[in-house]
């Protein structure tokens, strides 16, 4: 197997100014019951960039996201989020930091005993924002995901795709500086998947939010690499042929608990690594 396009060791050595990145992993390791899931992971997510994380099932993609928001703690290594090292933060300190980070879980993880507006406005209600302000912002963000009509419904009344969009609405209502998506299109039909991808592209291009997106659907990432969100037309449009892949999107591929690729779409397309070529073919 040939060497990865961007060697992991180089990234780790280059850690000079942690605050310059939205997220930074420095030689992070984690194991569960002696099974090593992530082994010396290092990467950096610059501000305003979206990084698509790939890997086969069980390669530690979701674990990586949970580490990034402090829901899990690494066995070794350091994690920086928005310039702050979260590795040794107390849970109370993490609660404060998490207010600046949004996450969309794999199965949406909506509170099933709360209505859509209570789910979406949960964080605002916790921050004691006045009720009329919460309603205004919930309606605004539901309009963003085109689900305003579900305002008064329970999650059980929604389809899988709608639940995923409500989860996105819940994650972005406080305008987070970083967004983490865990398989946002997993298990959805192509049309619904495209709607979700459009929302992610909209968040990337309109609000310039830094994002880590775990997925195993390569086509979603390529759509994101070849499209941008046209604010005037209010829809995602394809980039002209010469400008393709010139969007703030990079790729990270995990294999056996290690990063085997960290680079942009051009580098991915021209990679000579057999595993990567097979993966993207």
């Amino acid at each position: 197997m040939s060497a990865p396009t961007l060697p992991v060791e180089d990234s780790a050595v280059a850690v000079v100014n942690p605050s310059g990145y939205a997220i930074e992993f420095d030689n992070v390791c984690i194991a569960f019951d002696e099974k090593v899931v992530l082994n010396g992971i290092s990467f950096r997510l610059p501000h305003g960039e979206t990084k698509a994380v790939f890997g086969v099932a069980g390669s530690g993609k979701s674990t990586l996201l949970k580490l990034a928001i402090g829901l899990l703690r690494p066995d070794s290594g350091r994690i920086f989020v928005l310039g702050e090292e979260i590795t040794h933060m107390s849970e109370q300190e993490l609660f404060e930091l998490r207010r600046r980070v949004g996450i969309v879980f794999q199965e949406s993880a909506l509170f099933d005993s709360l209505k859509v507006y209570e789910n979406v406005g949960f964080r605002l209600a916790e921050e004691k924002v006045p009720a009329d302000e919460i309603e205004r912002r919930v309606r605004e963000v539901l309009r963003f995901v085109e689900l305003e009509r579900t305002y008064d419904m329970y999650p059980s009344e929604l389809s899988g795709g709608m639940r995923r969009r409500v989860a996105i609405a819940r994650a972005i209502i406080t305008d987070p500086e970083v967004l983490l998506y865990d398989s946002p299109t997993g298990g959805l039909d192509p049309v619904t998947s495209n709607t979700i991808v459009e929302l992610i592209v909209k968040q990337r291009d309109v609000y310039k939010t830094s994002s880590l997106m775990v997925t195993h659907r390569l086509q979603d990432a390529f759509t994101m690499a070849t499209h941008y969100f046209d604010k005037a037309a209010n829809k995602m449009v394809a980039l002209p042929r010469g400008q393709r892949c010139e969007v703030p999107l990079s790729f990270l591929i995990l294999r056996d608990g290690k990063v085997i690729f960290d680079g942009d779409a051009h580098q991915l397309a021209t990679s000579r690594d057999e595993y990567i070529r097979e993966y993207i073919s």
Partner: protein, 264 residues
């Protein structure tokens, strides 16, 4: 079909038990400390008080009446042999207020609510709702566990008073209708026999039992592993553990109160 029997080392079992005790103690301590930290989630506490208190009322009314009546019925035959049927009110009163009222109410509420808490929180764990809550910057022990502890301890106190009263009424019904005990004699003896120690014992126990029910139910819910099967396992374990702990706690509290106030 061959079954494989996996042998577990006693040391591993002891380690797991010690770890469970440690985690339970930490969760309980943190949840109690949360009563002194803002925000307090009074709305959630009231909602839980309604679910636990008002929801448990029918079962507490029925068991209170039945236990009081059965206590009177069973003791009456013995009392009759010694010509002491007039003492039946005393016996029902002491039995219900100090022991059976708190114990039966505690066990009933444990069966109903410890299981409910374990299954609700367990389902939230397996569907990542607890992780989502943490990710949204909210402490789940503060939002979910502390209100349940406050509500259960508070409501069990009043449910026990209701069970005691209904037990006395059940005892009166048997004593008066079957054994012909005079109404005034029954109620006078039930009232006169009670001293401060009895009432104190009968009212401190439900608060402690309420604490046990909520902390055990929440602990098993929050430590659920293994999907829906794990939720079922947590629910069963919560009921068994809270019931056993209530019985053990009952013994030690009674012994302590006897040690402090002396025997009758």
């Amino acid at each position: 079909m061959a079954f494989e029997l996996e042998l577990i080392s006693p040391i591993e079992v002891a380690k797991d038990f010690a770890l469970a005790v440690q985690e339970y103690t930490l969760l309980s301590a943190q949840s109690v400390a949360n009563f002194f930290r803002r925000p307090l989630y009074m709305g959630d506490m009231l909602q839980q008080a309604d679910l636990i208190g008002v929801g448990s009322l029918p079962i507490v009314v029925l068991t209170g009446l039945s236990v009081g009546a059965l206590l009177a019925l069973n003791s009456a035959s013995t009392l009759q042999q010694f010509g002491g049927i007039s003492l039946i009110g005393r016996l029902v009163s002491i039995g219900m207020v100090t022991e059976l009222g708190p114990l039966i109410t505690g066990l009933m509420v444990a069966g109903r609510n410890a299981s409910g808490m374990a299954s609700e929180l367990g389902s939230m764990i397996v569907t990542e709702q607890i992780d989502a809550m943490r990710a949204l910057g909210t402490d789940p022990t503060k939002k979910l566990v502390t209100p349940r502890i406050g509500a259960t301890a508070f409501m069990l106190f009043f449910l026990t008073i209701i069970a005691d009263l209904l037990g006395l009424i059940g005892g009166y019904a048997v004593a008066h209708l079957i054994f012909g005990v005079d109404t005034q004699q029954y109620w006078t003896t039930t009232w006169q026999i009670l001293v401060f120690r009895d009432v104190f014992t009968g009212l401190i126990k439900p608060v402690l039992f309420g604490f046990i029910i909520a902390t055990v139910g929440c602990y098993y819910g929050m430590s659920t592993q293994g999907g829906t099967q794990g939720v079922g396992r947590s629910t069963t374990q919560a009921v068994v553990a809270s019931s056993v702990l209530i019985l053990v706690m009952d013994f030690f509290v009674t012994k302590l109160i006897f040690a402090v106030f002396g025997y009758r």
